[in-house]
C-alpha cells in the first residue's frame, strides 16, 4: 500500500537576512503553515523550524498526501419556489441543481425552522496535497511580516532581503511553485566558501545532515550551543571566562552558519579605559565577547565567532586584532582628551548645547535639575543631608559627559551617564556622586533595573519629571505609537523608582514644581501650565496602571483605586496590591462588602453631587438608622487610625469597612431611604454619603466588576 503521508520541507534561501529578523520570521512561518494546512484539511505531525543568515527553513512531519473528501449540504431555494403547483421543478430548481453539477432528481426537500427548502448533497473531492501546497506556501511567504522590506531587480515583490533559491519537497517530490521569479527545486546551498555548488536534497529527512556536510549548521539551537560551549572553552584555555551576553549570543548566532570561536588579543594598555567602553567597542560594532578574570575584571582578550571552520584561523585572528586596535585607540584618544578637562569644568560648556529647541541649553537643564533635586529631597522623609549633598552634586555634573569626545562618538553615545560616572570618579568626585550620575538614565527599558542608590534615584526622578514637564509644555506629547522623546519610558521610570524606593511624594506638587521651574516658554505649540499639569498627571497615572497590571492587579481594581483621590503614587499602588490580596483570599466575602457599599453609593451619589448634605446624628429617629450611624462611627475611627499610621494599614481599613456591611444590608432591608419627610430623607442620605466617603478613602466600589453582574 502506498504511503499516505510524507514530510514537507520548505527552505527560502536569501541574501544575509538581518539577525534580529530570523526568529520572528520562523515563528510566523510555523503559524502560517499550521493555519494554512488546517484550512486545507491536511493533517500533519510535528513542525520544526531552522534559521541561518541565509535561510529560513521549516519542516512539517507526516503531511497527509490527499485532502479528505468534503461532504457538504447546500441549501437552495424554498420548496415552494422550486416546484410548481403540479410538483414539477421550476427554473429556479434546475438552475440551483446545475450550479452544483447535479440534476433536479438529486435534490431533496427538507423541513427547516423557516419552512420547507430544497437541499443538494455535494461531495467535494479531496485534492492531492502537492496541488494544494503551492498556494499555502505562497501565501505564507507573502504574509510574513518583517520590520523592513525591500525590492530588488525589476520585481515589485517585497521581502526582508532578496530571495535567491527555493527548496520545496514533499517526500521525495519537488512541489512545483514560483516565488519572486524563482522556480522551486530540490537544491540548497551550503556554506558560501566551504562548499562547492548546490547541494541536492533527495528527501526532507536528510536536510540537516546534508547541510552539515556542506558546513552549515542549520539548526540554530545547536549553533547556539556550539557558540556558548566553544566560547567558554577558548576563554578557559586562555585563562579566563567568557562574558556571554545573551542578546549578543543571539545576534552572533544569526550572523554565522558554521561557528568557530577564536580568541584575539589587544594591547593591555587599553585596560585603563572604562570597562563599559571596552565592552561596547568590542560588542557594538565587532560583535566580540569580552573575557574576564575570576575577579570579574577584564582581560586584554576578545572572542570572535568566525563563520567557518578552523582553516586559516590564524589569519582571521590577526585580521580581527587589527580591526579592534584602531577602535580602542580612538577611545583612548577620547579619554586622554576628555581627561584634560575635569568634569566640573565642563558645566559652563553645556551652555553651547541645546537641550530641546525652545527650552534652553543643557546648562539651563542642569540648573533646573539642581533646583528639583533640592526640592524633592525636602519632600522625602528618609533623605539625609549626605544624600542631598551627593544628589545635588550629581545633578550639577549629570549632563557634563554629553559634551565629551567619548559620548560624541555615535557608537559610544549609549554610554551616556556611565561614562560620566567613570569620569567623575577619575575627577576625584565621591563614589556616591559617581554612582548617581551613572544611574540617572536607568531603567532604560522594562527589563532594566531602576537605580539602587538614594541619590541616584533622586536624580533619575528629577531628570524625568523635568523632561516630561518640558516636552508637554511645548506640546510634544506622544501620539499613537510614536514617542520620539521617550516620554512613556520617562513616566514609567518615575513610577518604578518611586514604588521601589518607597517614597510618599505628592505627584501633583512634583509636577507643579517642575512646571514652575521651567523657563519662560515662547513656543508656537506651547500648552498653558494648568492644562499641562493635568496632562502629565494623567500620563503618569496611565503608567502606574501598567505597573499595577504587571503586578496582577485586575483592571477594575486599578480603576477603583485610581478613581479616588490619589496624589501619592505609592499609596495608590499599595492600596491596589492590598485589595488584590484581599479579593484573592476570599472573593465571595469581597463581593459581599462591595455589593453593600455599591448600594450605598448608588443611592447617595446623585444627591451628594447636587445638594449640601449635612448629617444631624441626633435627628436620626429610626433604630436601624441609629444602628448604622453607630457602626459608621466605629468604622470611621478604625479607618482613621489604620490610615494614620506611618505605613497605612489597608487590611485594617478594609476590615473596618467590612464590619459595617451587615448593618448596611439590614438598613436597606428595613428602612425606606426615600422617606416622604424631606428632612428625614436628607438626613438618611447624608449618613449614606458619609459612609460612601469612608469607602472612597480606599476604593470606588462602583468601578468593581462582579461576575454575573453584567
Amino acid at each position: 500500500m502506498a504511503e499516505s503521508t510524507a514530510d514537507l520541507l520548505f527552505e527560502i534561501g536569501v541574501e544575509e537576512i538581518p539577525a534580529p529578523a530570523v526568529l520572528p520570521a520562523l515563528s510566523q512561518l510555523e503559524n502560517l503553515l499550521t493555519e494554512g494546512l488546517a484550512a486545507a484539511r491536511l493533517t500533519h505531525g510535528e513542525i520544526s523550524t531552522w534559521g541561518t543568515p541565509r535561510r529560513l527553513a521549516i519542516m512539517v512531519g507526516g503531511v497527509q498526501l490527499r485532502q479528505e473528501d468534503l461532504e457538504e449540504e447546500i441549501k437552495g431555494p424554498p420548496a415552494a419556489a422550486a416546484f410548481d403547483d403540479e410538483g414539477k421543478p421550476t427554473k429556479a430548481a434546475e438552475g440551483f441543481a446545475a450550479g452544483k453539477g447535479l440534476t433536479v432528481d438529486d435534490l431533496e426537500v427538507r423541513e427547516t425552522e423557516k419552512g420547507s427548502y430544497v437541499f443538494a448533497q455535494v461531495t467535494q473531492q479531496g485534492q492531492e496535497a502537492i496541488e494544494v501546497l503551492p498556494e499555502i506556501l505562497d501565501n505564507a511567504v507573502s504574509s510574513l511580516n518583517f520590520p523592513k522590506t525591500m525590492r530588488w531587480g525589476s520585481l515589485e515583490f517585497r521581502f526582508a532581503r532578496p530571495i535567491r533559491w527555493l527548496l520545496v519537497l514533499l517526500g521525495s517530490n519537488v512541489v512545483p511553485m514560483e516565488v519572486a521569479d524563482l522556480q522551486s527545486d530540490r537544491l540548497t546551498w551550503g556554506h558560501r566558501f566551504l562548499s562547492d555548488g548546490p547541494v541536492e536534497i533527495a528527501e526532507p529527512s536528510e536536510y540537516l545532515s546534508k547541510l552539515e556536510d556542506a558546513y552549515v549548521i542549520a539548526d540554530h539551537r545547536r549553533r547556539q550551543e556550539m557558540i556558548e560551549e566553544g566560547a567558554a572553552k577558548v576563554a578557559e584555555e586562555a585563562g579566563g571566562r567568557a562574558r556571554l551576553d545573551e542578546d549578543l549570543v543571539e545576534e552572533v548566532n544569526f550572523m554565522v552558519e558554521y561557528p568557530t570561536p577564536l580568541v584575539g588579543h589587544f594591547d593591555s594598555r587599553y585596560l585603563q579605559l572604562p570597562d563599559d567602553v571596552i565592552v561596547t567597542v568590542m560588542s557594538g560594532h565587532q560583535r566580540y565577547f569580552a573575557v574576564e578574570n575570576s575577579d570579574g575584571s577584564l582581560m586584554p582578550l576578545f572572542i570572535a565567532i568566525r563563520n567557518g571552520d578552523d582553516h586559516g584561523l590564524e589569519t582571521v585572528r590577526e585580521g580581527n586584532e587589527r580591526v579592534i586596535e584602531p577602535r580602542l585607540a580612538d577611545a583612548e584618544f577620547y579619554l586622554t582628551e576628555d581627561m584634560r578637562t575635569p568634569l566640573e569644568d565642563r558645566i559652563e560648556d553645556l551652555q553651547r548645547v541645546t537641550y530641546i529647541e525652545g527650552l534652553g541649553s543643557l546648562y539651563d537643564k542642569t540648573e533646573r535639575l539642581v533646583e528639583l533635586v533640592n526640592w524633592l529631597c525636602g519632600q522625602i522623609a528618609a533623605v539625609e543631608d549626605q544624600h542631598q549633598t551627593a544628589a545635588t552634586r550629581a545633578a550639577e555634573l549629570a549632563k557634563c559627559d554629553l559634551n565629551t569626545n567619548m559620548i560624541g562618538d555615535t557608537k559610544l553615545a549609549k554610554l551616556q551617564g556611565r561614562v560620566g560616572a567613570e569620569y567623575a570618579r577619575r575627577s576625584g568626585e565621591p563614589e556616591e556622586v559617581a554612582l548617581a550620575i551613572g544611574e540617572q538614565y536607568r531603567p532604560q527599558s522594562a527589563a532594566d533595573t531602576p537605580p539602587v542608590t538614594r541619590p541616584g534615584r533622586i536624580v533619575a526622578v528629577c531628570d524625568r519629571i523635568d523632561h516630561l514637564a518640558a516636552c508637554f509644555r511645548i506640546g510634544l506629547r506622544p501620539t499613537g505609537s510614536a514617542d520620539p522623546h521617550a516620554l512613556r519610558r520617562a513616566a514609567q521610570g518615575i513610577v518604578r523608582i518611586i514604588i521601589e524606593a518607597g517614597w510618599h511624594v505628592d505627584l501633583p506638587e512634583l509636577i507643579d514644581f517642575a512646571l514652575d521651574n521651567l523657563p519662560e516658554v515662547e513656543h508656537e505649540d506651547a500648552v498653558p501650565p494648568e492644562k499641562v499639569a493635568e496632562q502629565i498627571h494623567e500620563f503618569v497615572l496611565a503608567r502606574l496602571d501598567t505597573e499595577m497590571e504587571r503586578c496582577g492587579v485586575s483592571y477594575d481594581l486599578t480603576r477603583a483605586v485610581l478613581n479616588t483621590e490619589c496624589p501619592d503614587l505609592l499609596d495608590a499602588y499599595h492600596r491596589a496590591i492590598a485589595l488584590r490580596d484581599i479579593r484573592q483570599r476570599d472573593p465571595e466575602a469581597f463581593e459581599t462588602v462591595v455589593i453593600a457599599a455599591e448600594r450605598t453609593a448608588n443611592i447617595c451619589r446623585q444627591a451628594k453631587a447636587e445638594e449640601d448634605l449635612a448629617l444631624a446624628p441626633d435627628a436620626l429617629v429610626d433604630d436601624h438608622a441609629v444602628a448604622l450611624y453607630e457602626a459608621y462611627e466605629a468604622a470611621r475611627e478604625a479607618v482613621s487610625d489604620a490610615l494614620a499610621a506611618e505605613e497605612a494599614d489597608y487590611e485594617a481599613t478594609w476590615n473596618a469597612l467590612a464590619g459595617m456591611c451587615d448593618t448596611i444590608d439590614t438598613f436597606f432591608d428595613e428602612v425606606m431611604v426615600m422617606a416622604e419627610d424631606e428632612a428625614v430623607r436628607a438626613n438618611r442620605l447624608a449618613l449614606l454619603a458619609e459612609i460612601d466617603d469612608l469607602f472612597l478613602r480606599l476604593l470606588d466600589v462602583q468601578e468593581i466588576v462582579i461576575e454575573g453582574e453584567g
Binding site: 525591500m150 532578496p162 587589527r322 541645546t354
Partner: protein, 296 residues
C-alpha cells in the same frame, strides 16, 4: 598588490561582467554615490552598468595627514548595476577573490547595514562586507533616490581601496601604501592632505562660504527650472560640498544643520524629477535592448 593594480584588477573584473568602465566625475563629491553616474543614472527605467574610481572629499575627516586611517580626500571604487542581477552577491565575492584574497583562508561576511543619505533623499537596504572583521565594501540595493522610488532597483557596491590595500600590503598607515611600485600614497598625497586640512578646518572663509551656498542654491533652482537638470546638478554638488566645508569649520549650529540638509535634499529631489522627465522626453534611449528582452 599596489593601489593602481587594485583599480586595474577591478576594472578588468567588472568589464568582464558587463560594466562599462567610467571615469571619476570632475567635481567635489562626498561619496561615489553622488557622482551623476550613480545618482542620476540609478533613476528611471533605463538599464545601467558601470564601474569607476571616484575621489571623495570629506572635509570633516581632515586630520592634517597625520591619522593613519583617516583622510579628508580619499578614493572609492564604485560599481552600479541596474537592474540588480540575481548573482550580484557572488560577483561581489569573486571580485574580492580577484584581488588575491582566498575566501577559504578568511572570514568574509555580509553584515546588515542599511544606508541613508539625508542630503540626497536616498536610502537603500544592504550590508557592510567584512573581511576578518574589517569593513571593506558597502553593498546596497537602492530603494529610493532623490525622493523617487527606484524601479528597477540598482545595486551599488562601494569598495574602500585604501583599506583593502592596507590589508593586502600589510601596512598600518596609509602613507606607507604603495600606489605603484615606484611611489607611495604618502609621497603622492601627504602634502595635499596637510594643506587641505588646514584649509578645511581653519582657513576656509565661512562668511564667503555661507554666501556662495545661497548663490549656488539659487543657481541650481534657476538652471533646473530652465530645463537643464545636468548643469543644475553640478550646483547641487557645489551646495553639498560648501555645506560640508561649513560643517567642518564648525560654523553650523545643530538647528541650522537640519535646515541646510533639507535645502540640499530639496534641490536633489527637484533635479531628480527634472532628469527623469528629460530622459522620458528622449524616449529613455538606453531602454532599447532591455525592453526587447522583456518582450521575449
Amino acid at each position: 598588490m599596489t593601489i593602481q593594480q587594485i583599480f586595474a584588477t577591478l576594472d578588468g573584473f567588472w568589464a568582464d561582467h558587463g560594466c562599462l568602465i567610467g571615469e571619476a566625475y570632475d567635481m567635489e563629491v562626498g561619496a561615489g554615490t553622488m557622482a551623476p553616474d550613480t545618482f542620476l543614472r540609478s533613476l528611471g527605467p533605463e538599464p545601467w552598468n558601470v564601474a569607476y574610481v571616484q575621489p571623495c572629499r570629506r572635509p570633516a575627516d581632515s586630520r592634517y595627514g597625520e591619522n593613519p586611517n583617516r583622510l579628508g580626500r580619499y578614493f572609492q571604487y564604485q560599481v552600479i548595476m541596474k537592474p540588480s542581477p540575481q548573482e550580484f552577491q557572488d560577483l561581489a565575492v569573486e571580485s574580492i577573490e580577484a584581488l588575491g584574497i582566498d575566501a577559504r583562508e578568511h572570514d568574509i561576511r555580509f553584515v546588515e547595514d542599511d544606508w541613508e543619505s539625508p542630503t540626497l533623499g536616498a536610502s537603500g537596504v544592504g550590508w557592510e562586507m567584512w573581511l576578518d572583521g574589517m569593513e571593506i565594501c558597502q553593498y546596497t540595493y537602492f530603494q529610493q533616490v532623490g525622493g523617487l522610488q527606484c524601479r528597477p532597483v540598482a545595486v551599488e557596491l562601494t569598495y574602500g581601496p585604501e583599506r583593502i590595500a592596507m590589508y593586502l600590503q600589510g601596512v598600518e598607515d596609509y602613507r606607507d601604501l604603495s600606489w605603484s611600485d615606484a611611489i607611495s600614497y604618502g609621497e603622492m598625497r601627504f602634502e595635499e592632505e596637510r594643506q587641505h586640512s588646514h584649509y578645511n578646518l581653519e582657513i576656509a572663509d565661512t562668511d564667503m562660504l555661507a554666501k556662495v551656498f545661497e548663490m549656488f542654491e539659487a543657481e541650481a533652482k534657476r538652471v533646473a527650472n530652465a530645463g537643464f537638470p545636468l548643469p543644475a546638478y553640478d550646483y547641487v554638488l557645489k551646495c553639498s560640498h560648501t555645506f560640508n566645508l561649513l560643517d567642518a569649520r564648525g560654523a553650523i549650529s545643530v538647528s541650522e544643520r537640519t535646515g541646510m540638509i533639507e535645502r540640499v535634499r530639496n534641490l536633489a529631489a527637484m533635479v531628480a524629477r527634472a532628469y527623469v522627465a528629460r530622459r522620458e522626453e528622449l524616449g529613455f534611449p538606453l531602454l532599447g535592448e532591455a525592453s526587447d528582452d522583456d518582450n521575449k
